[in-house]
Amino acid sequence: MTASATWRRWLPYVGVLTVAAYCLAPFYWMLVSSLRRTSDIFDNSLLPSRVSFENYRSLLNASQGFTRALLNSLIVAGITTALALLLATFTAYAMARLEFRFKRLILTLIIATSMFPVVSIVVPLLKLFTDIGWINTYQSMIVPSMSFALPLAVWNLTTFFRQMPDELEHAAMIDGCTRGQAFRKVIIPLAAPGIFTTAIITFIAAWNEFLIALTMTNKPQMQTAPVAISKFTGATTYETPFGSQMAAGVLVTIPLVIMVLLFQRRIVAGLTAGAAK
């Protein structure tokens, strides 16, 4: 009995370690590979025999244009998030607080639009943007990104607003505020954590985006980070760009990882509450 009882006791820890290993092992491998010298790149040992930052150095060399790509990602994802939040806040408030006809239908429609395949959106928009000269611009990436960012933000924010009791605004309005003032002075501050979480989730989704950026840009200085990395031919004349790709991958992921570590509770709350409703 004791043997199985001990086993039972340790099982949760073993389980936890397995889960952690599952999630982190590939990421660890990416990190380790980025720190190997190009000549060692096919080494399969757990730790690099010789830690080298040559991949990072060659990446950050201006001629690679990688820092520019990171900046582009930041701009596109940032503006997409800001716009999506702006529009979604109003809509979510209406969804959560107001009664009107077709409300359910509209909410369903909004969420349904995030189900459209990106490829069916991108090709017609490509032709349109070609004709109006928007190729290789930021707006050509931001506008299509709204197709998934906006519904995502609406959905998340609707849930957060719904969680807040109606009494808050009623109390404020009894005290003499208009609905708008109640919204600004009472709801927004209280919903700030929810808005912040939605911002993070939307930002990560926008940062992640690949197909739109791939299609709309071909100037190296306008590409976002994921596209730039996928087009790496190798920082030097070495044949295999794997080391620099892994280093680039680490650099692109690190900001997200930091955000995730700092705000994990909020993110989890946002993802699960959003999904749960």
Partner: protein
């Protein structure tokens, strides 16, 4: 938030929408800005040169030379991935989005028809280029119908790299001229203890443009054709089958190692340089790189072997073309003249063993001393058979890749693959 602000927001959103709709309607369904047949080459300023990855560093060297001479008209080198399919995709994307990101394109010789027909590249003034000093088959690849749409920059012919030291040790005095000879040479070499673990032969067999090349070469070297003299597909023939069977059979019996099915040019070069292969089919560019590797001095180049005698190589190479949607075309034209000049060609040959389009460079004594295989290469190019030069080259190449790969991996018999290929090609070229 008061109603006024909301109203303002609404108005601006509506305006944006209206603006977009108007713009869309305004341009209409027709593609705008069709290039006139005689494009004017005006405008000076910075431009870009777009080509596949430069493994030897010589391209940047030549570009630096230009940039020093023309500081106000700098050329930026945009490197695309090594495989031809990706290069073509990105150049097409540039054209379809009418982007001015790419100015001078390094087109594979088989793409001239496609790009010219779609009016993605400009017709060039023939008189301004020294075409009569270039090898005739090479110049032909730059023409579409009667116009010149590209300028030859480098030619290419497939050659056989082989290990001289191993062949000598095995008592073989001359490189093989037929497939049967090559297989028996391999058998002899593999008996040597120093050749333990080596594989016999590899080319480019991954499912990409290189496979189209290798397949065409095998078919041509067995006496068959992919498309006949009029551009009509004729690949379902006994001769073609013999060619395909050589490849298929070699994969089956291990003459071609299984991992060669993932090889592009660079993978094969790596394998040859690390002594994993005795024979390698590749392009001339490998020569200078291999001379700097572990097999330096231990290899030489021979014409490709065939079924009953010397094989025929595919005519490869790159031509420079001018994107119709580019800016600063005057600079671009001058750069193209500079890059395709005999002097640049000589640099490319010396530093990167790239086959020049100029006939007399093959007879230059000093160059022949450095690259003893130049005469071999010249003959190879003059007798090379180009891949099908059709407007729908993308479809044609896809079909060939599809069927050839199926045959090589054993998914289809070679007979079935050729039959399916013939009907696929007929459909693509019928348009």
């Amino acid at each position: 938030m008061n109603a006024r602000t909301i109203r303002a927001l609404q108005c601006s959103a509506a305006l944006v929408a209206a603006g977009l709709t108007l713009a869309a309607c305004g341009s209409g369904g027709d593609s705008s800005s069709r290039q006139s047949q005689n494009a004017s080459f005006t405008g000076r300023g910075p431009i870009s040169y777009v080509a596949g990855k430069d493994s030897s560093g010589v391209v940047q060297k030549v570009i630096d030379r230009w940039n020093k001479l023309h500081p106000k008209e700098k050329v930026t080198f945009i490197q695309l991935p090594t495989d031809a399919d990706s290069q073509r995709q990105q150049m097409i994307q540039n054209a379809e989005t009418k982007s001015d990101a790419y100015t001078v394109l390094s087109l594979d010789v088989v793409w001239t028809s496609e790009f010219a027909a779609h009016q993605w590249i400009d017709k060039l003034p023939e008189k301004q280029f020294p075409l009569d000093k270039m090898l005739k088959p090479v110049v032909e690849t730059a023409k579409y119908r009667t116009g010149l749409y590209a300028v030859p920059a480098a030619s290419d012919g497939g050659v056989l790299y082989y290990r001289t030291d191993l062949l000598k040790k095995a008592g073989i005095t001359a490189p093989p001229t037929t497939w049967a000879e090559m297989t028996s040479d391999c058998a002899k070499v593999r008996k040597l203890p120093v050749a333990k673990g080596m594989s016999c032969y590899a080319g480019q067999f991954q499912k990409y443009e290189g496979l189209t090349v290798n397949f065409s070469e095998a078919v041509n070297s067995a006496g068959g054709v992919v498309t006949d003299a009029n551009g009509k597909p004729d690949v379902d023939t006994p001769a073609a089958k013999k060619g395909l069977d050589f490849l298929v059979g070699s994969v089956k019996d291990g003459t071609i190692p299984k991992e060669a099915l993932t090889y592009q040019e660079e993978d094969g070069r790596q394998a040859f340089q690390s002594s994993k292969l005795i024979f390698l089919r590749n392009w001339p560019y490998v020569y200078s790189l291999a001379q700097k590797s572990a097999v330096a001095g231990k290899f030489a180049v021979a014409p490709l072997p065939g079924l009953n005698g010397s094989g025929s190589s595919s005519l490869g190479g790159h031509n420079l073309a001018l994107s119709s949607f580019a800016k600063n075309k005057a600079t671009a034209l001058d750069f193209m003249k500079f890059y395709s000049s005999e002097e640049s060609a000589s640099t490319f040959l010396k530093d990167a063993s790239l086959a020049p389009p100029y006939a007399d460079l093959y007879d230059d004594a000093a160059l022949v001393k450095q690259y003893p295989y130049l005469p071999v290469l010249k003959t190879s190019i003059l007798n090379a058979v180009p891949r099908p030069r059709v407007v729908q080259y993308g479809d044609v190449s896809s079909a060939i890749q599809q069927q050839a790969y199926a045959a090589l991996t054993g998914t289809k018999t070679s007979a079935q693959a050729l039959k399916d290929l013939q009907s696929a090609l007929q459909k693509s070229t019928a348009q």
